[in-house]
């Protein structure tokens, strides 16, 4: 307890920083979680922030991002990140009704409720599983292998994803052997390569004349940015001043002109959602907290299907599905981070293997290689109670920053991004990130590895339809399962 209190100030500070930074990043469409959260978490670890601060930063970052990722997804129809993709179709339905702002407010409110339900649930599930931690650790090589195959099969690629894992694992093993011959060991470059693979693949593809013809378009893309409409008492719709918006619940008594100013009180998610939506969000948060080894994308789709199948009226159905799905994006990330950390100390989930990877591997601070008997990661520095408290703190920071921001300034932020930030600028920043992180980690070898993994990973994502989580697990199969299994068979 004394240690917890001692770490509290730095945890609060890092939680606020994580929430502010990722509230803003979330608004920018296409900013993949692993490509943004992982490198910045790595920086936080390497500058010497204590584990409590690192963990609170990560939780606040992930929870904030999965609130504001709804802004481009709902208002522009462009996914904010990977986990926003399953919500796109429902968002399009609300945009067609001219009500994307309502969809946005419900999605974010669902995320808030889900975060606070998922944290105790995940800790409880981890506590139940933790007695089996040593047993599970001893079977880790096999578990990674089975989990990778299961995740690959649950991806849209189905059996093709399982088959594609084999050459991908061999490819990783080859690259590791090659860099090993120069005594260079890499990890972050692989994660970054997978996360940013589709961009690298597209940039290489566009260099091929024949492909360039197919990628050519007659004109710029058309983006429908719905006006910031709020309900007016007279039953008509009226556009509000950009930048100000209050939740439907808090705006329930909007003036006849409909031009009610932005709410000055903190928005209340229980007024934005009805009982059906709150119940659906709570139930899916609990269930999805337990399915921690599966792909968050697949779980999000599944939870949406379950909720949608139980609601009779079309509008009620689509708003409830959006709420539950966005809530699931929070609960899966929270559970897939907390359960592997508390119960096993190993990255046994797609999130732990991807965006949360620096919490397990950030040389020289953290290193996880059970095959070599090395397990020194953030799980060695925090107790279960610490994880619970700092995860809650992260959720509080995210809710305090991202929730009111997205509820009030979502439209203005989306408008700024879509009118001022070109896609060329976003690509320029990410190309720079790839170069910086890979050169920093492994010099020219790192750059070659990130390019190769990005190109191959991007091809598998685009053509075989596996998602990045499958490839993250493929990486762990290469570095943990294959050596462990070979050793077991005396290879």
């Amino acid at each position: 307890m004394e240690l917890l209190l001692q770490d509290l100030p730095i945890a609060v500070l890092m939680g606020l920083i994580g929430a502010i930074v990722f509230t803003l990043i979330g608004v920018v469409s296409g900013t993949d979680e692993t490509a943004t959260i992982a490198p910045l978490t790595l920086v936080v670890i390497l500058i010497g922030v204590p584990p409590a601060g690192v963990f609170t930063f990560f939780m606040a970052a992930a929870i904030s991002k999965h609130m504001t990722h709804a802004v481009p997804t709902m208002l522009l129809g462009i996914p904010g990140d990977t986990l926003a993709v399953p919500i796109l179709e429902d968002a399009a339905k609300m945009r067609a009704l001219g009500l994307p702002h309502l969809a946005l407010r419900k999605a974010i409110s669902g995320a808030v409720i889900s975060a606070f339900i998922a944290i105790p649930c995940a800790v409880l599930f981890a506590w139940i599983l933790s007695p089996f931690g040593d047993l599970i650790t001893s079977f880790a090589p096999w578990i990674f292998l089975i989990a990778a195959a299961g995740i690959a099969y649950s991806s849209p690629a189905k059996l093709g994803g399982v088959v594609a894992l084999v050459p991908f694992v061999a490819f990783i093993l080859g690259l590791q052997a090659w860099t090993g011959s120069f005594e260079v060991s890499l990890s972050i470059s692989y994660f970054l390569g997978v996360a940013i693979g589709p961009m690298i693949y597209d940039l290489v593809t566009v260099l091929v004349p024949q492909n360039r013809k197919e990628m050519r378009r007659k004109g710029p893309s058309h983006v429908f940015l719905a006006p910031d409409v709020r309900p007016a008492a007279g039953g008509s719709r009226s556009a509000a001043a950009a930048g100000g918006s209050a939740g439907i619940g808090s705006a329930g008594g909007a003036s006849a002109g409909g031009a009610k100013q932005a709410g000055r009180t903190f928005p209340n998610p229980f007024k934005v959602l009805d009982k059906t939506q709150v119940t659906a969000t709570a139930a899916t948060s609990v269930v999805s907290s337990a399915t921690f080894v599966f792909s968050p994308v697949a779980v999000t789709v599944l939870m949406g299907e379950i909720v949608g199948a139980r609601i009779k009226q079309g509008y009620q159905r689509v708003t409830s599905v959006i709420t539950a799905k966005n809530g699931t994006t929070e609960s899966t990330y929270i559970a897939e981070t907390l359960i592997p950390l508390i119960a096993f100390g190993l990255p046994l989930s797609p999130v732990a293997a991807g965006p949360a990877a620096p919490l397990f591997n950030a040389p020289p601070v953290f290193e996880t290689n059970p095959d070599a008997g090395i397990v020194n990661n953030i799980s060695n520095h925090l107790t279960t109670f610490d994880f619970f408290i700092f995860a809650l703190l992260g959720a509080v920071c995210a809710t305090a920053i991202a929730y009111p921001f997205a509820m009030r300034y979502a439209h203005a932020a989306a408008k700024f991004v879509v009118t001022k930030v070109s896609h060329e600028a976003i690509i320029a920043a990410f190309v720079g990130l790839v170069v910086v992180v890979s050169l920093w980690e492994g010099g020219l070898l790192g750059l070659m590895v990130v390019t190769a993994v990005g190109l191959v990973g991007g091809m598998l994502i685009r053509t075989v339809k596996v998602h990045a989580g499958v490839l993250f697990m493929g990486y762990y199969v290469a570095v943990l399962s294959v050596p462990g299994i070979l050793a077991a068979f005396g290879g």
């Binding site: 296409g30 490198p39 790595l42 920086v43 500058i47 339905k93 067609a96 009704l97 001219g98 009500l99 309502l102 961009m199 940039l203 566009v206 990628m215 007659k218 004109g219 710029p220 893309s221 058309h222 983006v223 429908f224 940015l225 719905a226 006006p227 409409v229 309900p231 007016a232 008492a233 039953g235 719709r237 909007a254 959602l273 009982k275 949608g308 199948a309 009779k312 009226q313 079309g314 509008y315 009620q316 689509v318 879509v418 009118t419 930030v421 070109s422 896609h423 060329e424 600028a425 690509i427 320029a428 920043a429 990410f430 190309v431 720079g432 990130l433 910086v436 992180v437 050169l439 920093w440």
Partner: protein
């Protein structure tokens, strides 16, 4: 509101088929190339220039590496800002809520699938209030009638 990027320049680009669909959005080839070069240059400057500056400032040796990563990432952000300054978005943004003809279809689409559209009585009070405030109640009633005629109202039917 409809806003085309750079007016006549956009038209010329359109005639020339200059736009490319890369990583989920449209870009212009030459500007993408410049953006990539700026990204690499700023990243390298941030990483190695930052390392040099941090070294000069006499920061402890084991922290020089970490600070160079931070300056490198700042370089990437700078690349984004610079590129955004000289490239306007290749997007046509529309804020027109002219949904005539499309609204009815959008409501009918909600009724696709085994549960159908249902009736407003199946929705909660809050949902009904939201639709009322948005002026969509009558449109939903019309859609319910259409669905009933086609025998796909769903819900309890």
């Amino acid at each position: 509101m409809s806003r085309a990027p750079e007016g006549d320049a956009a038209k010329t680009a359109e005639q020339q088929g200059e736009y490319l669909h890369v990583w989920g959005d449209t870009v212009r080839g030459k500007r993408l190339l410049v953006g990539v070069v700026v990204g690499v240059a700023c990243g390298l400057l941030g990483l190695y220039g930052g390392r040099w500056v941090v070294d000069l400032l006499g920061v402890e040796e084991h922290l020089v590496d970490v600070w160079s990563l931070i300056t490198g990432i700042l370089g990437c952000l700078l690349a984004g800002v610079i590129t955004a300054k000289f490239t306007s978005p290749a997007r046509i943004i529309s804020e027109d809520a002219d949904e005539s003809g499309e609204l009815a279809q959008a409501i009918d689409d909600l009724g696709e699938g085994p549960r159908g559209l249902g009736t407003l009585e199946d929705a909660t009070n809050l949902s009904r209030r939201e639709l009322e405030a948005a002026g969509l109640t009558d449109a939903f009633r019309d859609a319910e009638s259409r669905a009933a005629q086609h025998g796909r109202a769903g819900g309890d039917h």
